[in-house]
């Protein structure tokens, strides 16, 4: 898949933003007044900034409101509702903390649940894709939720939670990679099933339908950069999980904490780039792509 910057930025930042809002919602840390204002500002900048960035890849962003209509079938529509609902509930909850110095716990818990639901709906947009076997797994929502919760805990200053959740996120990330490497082969979709010519003999893509490129090749058959996948995986897991955990285990300083946040964010962006760049869409088979993977 084409790793569109708008979608990488959207999933990474809004995941972190909603993760932080989750922790604020359950009262960890139990902040009020200006401190709460600072926390909520960061969370909203990340969450809303990510959501706004996701509209950049739309062909007609001015019609984006129509995306709220099909929540009964579409995960993208459900994500829109979940995001708006959690932002509204958390805004009311945050206003209580900031302006009247009082914590309304029920509102906080509802908002926290909605934040998790938002991240889950985001992950389901990808996990539902049967056409992309690497994503079509329960590991995709687990990957998104663990990174969101771990990164949120890091931003919220919940050091013990952050250490354990970042370790869990790292393990789940490695599991998703290992499963993903076999996913296309295990799916049973290959050039023989795509053309149904396998009963005659071995099928090879002989000539593509067009001499140039097209939307399908640009969007779905991204190959640039896959050759560095292993190096990038090591970089991603180091920056996303290992380094922040090490920094958190050291005696607390604000510089180490800030470095942990920056490192984690860089790691998540790398992991998200790989999430898209490494994903093999089955339409590529028609163009003779993924030949090394298909049995």
């Amino acid at each position: 898949m084409h790793p569109a910057p708008s979608v990488i930025v959207f999933t990474s930042f809004s995941g972190l933003g909603f993760g932080l809002l989750f922790w604020l919602g359950i009262g960890l840390p139990a902040v009020t007044g200006w401190t709460a204002f600072a926390f909520f500002t960061i969370a909203y900048l990340f969450a809303v900034g990510g959501l706004v960035s996701s509209t950049f890849h739309l062909g007609h962003p001015e019609r984006a409101l129509k995306a709220f209509t099909q929540w009964r079938t579409s995960w993208l529509s459900r994500e829109g509702w979940a995001a708006v609902a959690s932002l509204i509930v958390m805004a009311a909850y945050g206003a209580g903390l900031v302006f009247v110095q009082s914590r309304w716990p029920v509102l906080g818990y509802v908002g926290a649940a909605l934040c998790l639901l938002t991240v889950f709906t985001t992950s389901m947009i990808y996990a539902q894709m049967k056409t992309i076997p690497r994503w079509n797994s329960v590991l995709t929502p687990l990957n998104y939720l663990s990174i969101s919760l771990g990164g949120g805990a890091l931003l919220a200053g919940q050091i013990t939670w952050a250490i354990w959740l970042l370790l869990a996120a790292g393990v789940l990330q490695i599991a998703a990679w290992l499963r993903g490497d076999r996913a296309l082969t295990d799916s049973g979709t290959d050039l023989a099933s795509a053309t149904r010519l396998g009963t005659i003999g071995k099928v090879r893509a002989f000539e593509p339908p067009h001499t140039g490129t097209n939307y399908l090749l640009k969007e779905f058959v991204h190959v640039v950069g896959r050759k560095h996948a292993l190096k990038l995986r090591v970089i991603a897991i180091t920056l996303m999980s290992a380094l922040p955990v090490l920094l958190l285990l050291l005696p607390f300083t604000h510089i180490a904490a800030a470095a942990a946040v920056v490192s984690h964010l860089a790691g998540v962006l790398t992991a998200r780039w790989l999430f898209f760049a490494e994903a093999e869409h089955v339409v590529g088979l028609y163009y003779g792509a993924h030949a090394g993977k298909a049995a």
Binding site: S74, G80, T195, L197, V203, V283
Partner: protein
């Protein structure tokens, strides 16, 4: 709503004969010709006369080489357009309701004025049947020429999809695949028509007729005992093994030199 209908009254679709397709791409051109100036936004091209041309097409023809365990390899031309699936994954993922499957005939369409161009339907389609138009920013796909098949302004013979109407080899057939007595349904049952990527669970309406083995004629000629007679072979026998007449004289004269 982008929920799929429980059932459709008819299942209009195509049956594509891989045995007959000669790979001329006429269906690609007639499809683009009709659809760029009819239903919805035009099918734009980018840099059409430059160094890196690309464009939106609703129908494309791939070519595959199939190598049987024994004998010569076979070249199969493979036209591919929207299969108007019964369980169309492209429809249910649409957040705006722009994509829908019609109850009356099962055609999958895009209401372009509702399309936000998110591209998710193209992600969900395993066949590459949907292309986002780079100029219009909306999703384009095969409409089964919905503006031809019911169009009473056209002569009746033209009320088929443009690709079917134009195919010089008769490799494309249009009809109702829910009616077991229809020509297309009979073709599918007689020739063993198949679904593409059945494991994806999309239940395509369009069917593909697999190519028949190509080397039978050569084998029959070599082995007349199989009973099948190549009726043209006797007429193609050489008339004379040794040259006669003027050519014969020339041949003998040149030998003597």
């Amino acid at each position: 709503m982008t929920a799929l209908p429980e059932r459709t009254d008819r299942k209009l679709g195509l049956v594509i004969d891989l045995d007959t397709c000669v790979g001329c791409h006429a269906c690609v051109i007639s499809c683009k010709g009709w659809n760029t100036e009819n239903y919805g936004a035009p099918l734009s091209d980018q840099d059409p006369y430059g160094g890196a041309p690309s464009g939106t097409f609703l129908n494309r023809v791939h070519s595959y080489e199939v190598q049987p365990p024994e004998g010569a390899a076979q070249l199969v031309h493979f036209p591919k357009s929207c299969l108007h699936c019964e369980d169309a994954p492209c429809v249910t993922v649409c957040p705006t309701g722009a994509s829908y499957k019609r109850v009356e005939d099962g055609i999958v369409l895009v209401n372009e004025s509702d399309c936000i161009g998110c591209g998710l339907c193209a992600w969900a389609c395993p066949y590459g049947a949907r292309e986002l138009d780079a100029a219009e920013g909306v999703m384009k796909k095969c409409t089964l020429c919905v503006d031809r098949i019911y169009n009473e302004n056209l002569p009746e013979v033209d009320r088929t999809p443009a690709c079917v109407r134009t195919c010089p080899a008769g490799a494309r057939h249009f009809g109702d695949l829910s009616d077991p007595a229809s020509d297309v349904s009979r073709l599918v049952s007689e020739r063993g028509g198949v679904d593409l990527m059945p494991e994806q669970g999309t239940k395509p309406v369009n069917k593909y007729l697999p190519p028949r083995p190509r080397d039978r004629l050569a084998r029959d000629a070599a082995e007349p005992t199989t009973g099948e007679i190549d009726v043209l072979a006797p007429f193609l026998e050489p008339v004379a093994e040794t040259p006669q007449g003027f050519i014969g004289w020339l041949d003998r004269a040149l030998e003597k030199l």
